[in-house]
Amino acid sequence: MSLKTNPEMNPATNTVFSPDLAARFDKLVTLYPLRRSALIPMLLYAQDEVGAVNDQVIAEIALRIGITELDVRNVISYYSLLHTKPHGRFHVQVCTNISCMLRGGNEMLAHCKDRLGIGHKETTSDGLFSLEEVECIGACCWAPAVQVNYDFHDNLTPEKMDAVLESYRQKESGR
């Protein structure tokens, strides 16, 4: 059954994504030799907008690609950036891998835990920050490095980290 002939399966009727994202996905699936190649970018972009790859996102993307929800879940569980539960608005990812470790990555993680009052893979009660100890983020020469959502912050010290966290707090209150 083609997607177009069954109105219930027509992605155009979706309410999961914004019109812009839906349009972007309509195009994305056509760019590859196989539709399924768009799966991982779609999951990540959907997560960026919705906040997590939740049940609705999974169902909608499965439909758009033409695979089962189980197939989608199987892929999600493999990739470390994809998550089915929402993070904090600002997801603080502290690298403690070798290059960062040598330049204070562990101390940076301890500092963030202390300042935010949360541990690895936890979220603050106001939902503003979440924290994760991550593997190498490719900023080894500028260690210690932290990624907040997709933004890199390098050559950090505890003081600089405080300023970084404060800048995100300001960003939120300025919204």
Binding site: L31, Y32, P33, L34, R36, S37, A38, L39, I40, P41, L43, L44, I65, N74, V75, Y78, Y79, S80, L81, L82, T96, N97, I98, S99, M101, L102, R103, E135, C136, I137, G138, A139, C140, C141, W142, A143, Q147, Y150, D151, F152, D154
Partner: protein, 437 residues
């Protein structure tokens, strides 16, 4: 923002346009960009392949396979479409060179991809970037859009019959996907588990078609090689190790950064002169020469040239050229634990020796680090690591085992000392209290 560094010893080939705003196509072309593509279109695939072979360029991802030879393995006639796949899933701890290439000179990657496509008779290329590099994906997307606007990508490029499309693609967090067969699985929208070889990607690759897969640095080198000529490029490096390499120097050095140096450059000089030596006048303890998977070198072993062959002779690897410098204060036990934690986290679980091996190494190392280690543990871990070698579909199992074997071999004394110095084991308690004893 990561800073760019510079040193007089550098030979700037692929980093020549760094810091010059070359992410913009006008600037890129003003700085000589896309001239190599034009030349390749005029001269044809055979010429490109010959120049690439003459250059002595070997894969910058870590395996060091000769690029020209890899390209020539692609069959000329193929029923299925052929593809070029650029590996920008840079995830090897200690390596951040591709980060700078995509930020400073994304067009060199696009141009290299197109030249590779021309050489093997492909019409489509993919640039796969790790999910964490979102801002670099955006830079690359803008660069690609500019190429389409100018007619550099698309149909009849430079008025010829050559047509080519390039698509950028994001991953979503996985070290394993940096392995070429897992990379293809991931690009096909699946879990990034490796495929068995043979068949090799040059014969059966992406979507079942013949595929050339190269590291981003390898591909970025291509336009420069055609510009200066393969033979000239080869002269920069050492024998069978043509050209330059982007060395990511991190850890305990005064001037960490990405430096472009000739292949075969002396490691000791690299640390003490180029990167400015060890901070605080401390002594050097050890160096991981090519990213986390390469066996460690002791301070007395670093007077060696950094190319694939010399590193091999020294019992280690050039890998992805991520030079991680450790001063005398570093505990090798702690460093080994962090290394194996990484590989245990990243093992995709497909092959049992890697899945179980990394897990047991991590468990044993964790116990050891906590002070419950025994001498037998060192022997057991070494035996375990040695039995992972060569028993997996992809090299992740080797990548985890090799550095561990290195730690146990080169620093065995420190592991033994650690047991003595850290008797965290609780005092023995009698299982049975003897009445009246």
């Amino acid at each position: 923002m990561p800073e760019l560094v510079s040193h007089p010893e550098e030979v700037k080939v692929i980093s020549r346009r760094f810091g010059m705003g070359a992410a913009d196509i006008d600037r890129y072309m003003a700085l000589g960009g896309y001239a190599s593509l034009r030349k390749a279109v005029d001269m044809g695939p055979e010429w490109v392949l010959n120049e690439m072979k003459a250059s002595g360029l070997r894969g910058r991802g870590g395996a060091g396979f000769p690029t020209g030879m890899k390209w020539s393995f692609v069959p000329k006639q193929s029923a299925k479409p052929k593809y070029v796949l650029v590996n920008g899933d840079e995830s090897e701890p200690g390596t951040c060179k591709d980060h700078l290439i995509f930020r400073e000179d994304p067009h060199s990657v696009i141009e290299g991809t197109m030249i590779a496509g021309l050489a093997i008779g492909s019409k489509m290329g993919f640039i796969y970037l790790r999910g964490e590099y979102r801002y670099l994906l955006e830079i690359t997307e803008r660069a690609l859009a500019q190429c389409y606007e100018r007619g550099i990508l698309g149909k009849s490029i430079f008025g010829s019959s050559f047509a080519f499309d390039v698509l950028s693609h994001t991953g979503a967090g996985a070290y394993e996907v940096g392995e070429e067969s897992a990379l293809m699985e991931s690009l096909e929208g699946k879990r990034g588990v490796p495929r068995i070889k043979p068949p090799f990607p040059a014969v059966v690759g992406l979507y079942g078609g013949p595929t050339v897969i190269n590291n981003a640095e390898t591909i970025a080198s291509v336009p420069f090689i055609l510009e200066m000529g393969g033979a000239e490029y080869a002269k920069i490096g050492t024998e069978r190790n043509g050209g330059t390499r982007l060395f990511s120097i991190s850890g305990h050095v005064n001037r960490p950064g990405v430096y472009e140096l000739p292949m075969g450059y002396n490691l000791k000089k690299m640390i003490y002169e180029v990167a400015g030596g060890i901070p605080g006048g401390k002594a050097l303890k050890a160096v991981v020469p090519g990213g986390a998977s390469c066996p460690i070198l002791r301070a007395d072993e670093i007077d060696v040239g950094m190319d694939f062959d010399q590193m091999g002779k020294a019992g280690t690897m050039l890998g992805s050229a991520g030079v991680v410098v450790l001063d005398e204060t570093v505990s090798i036990v702690e460093f080994a634990l962090r290394t194996i934690k990484f590989y245990q986290h990243e093992s995709c679980g497909w092959c049992i020796p890697c899945r179980e091996g990394t897990d047991w190494l991590k468990k044993t190392m964790t116990r050891f680090y906590e002070g419950y280690g025994t001498v037998k543990d060192i022997d057991n871990m070494r035996y375990l690591a040695e039995n992972m070698l060569g028993r997996t579909f992809c090299p992740l199992g080797d990548a985890a085992a090799m550095p561990m074997i290195g730690f146990f071999t080169k620093f065995r004394g420190e592991f033994e000392e650690y047991i003595q110095k850290n008797p965290a084991a609780p005092e023995t308690q009698a299982l049975v209290e003897l009445v009246g004893a």
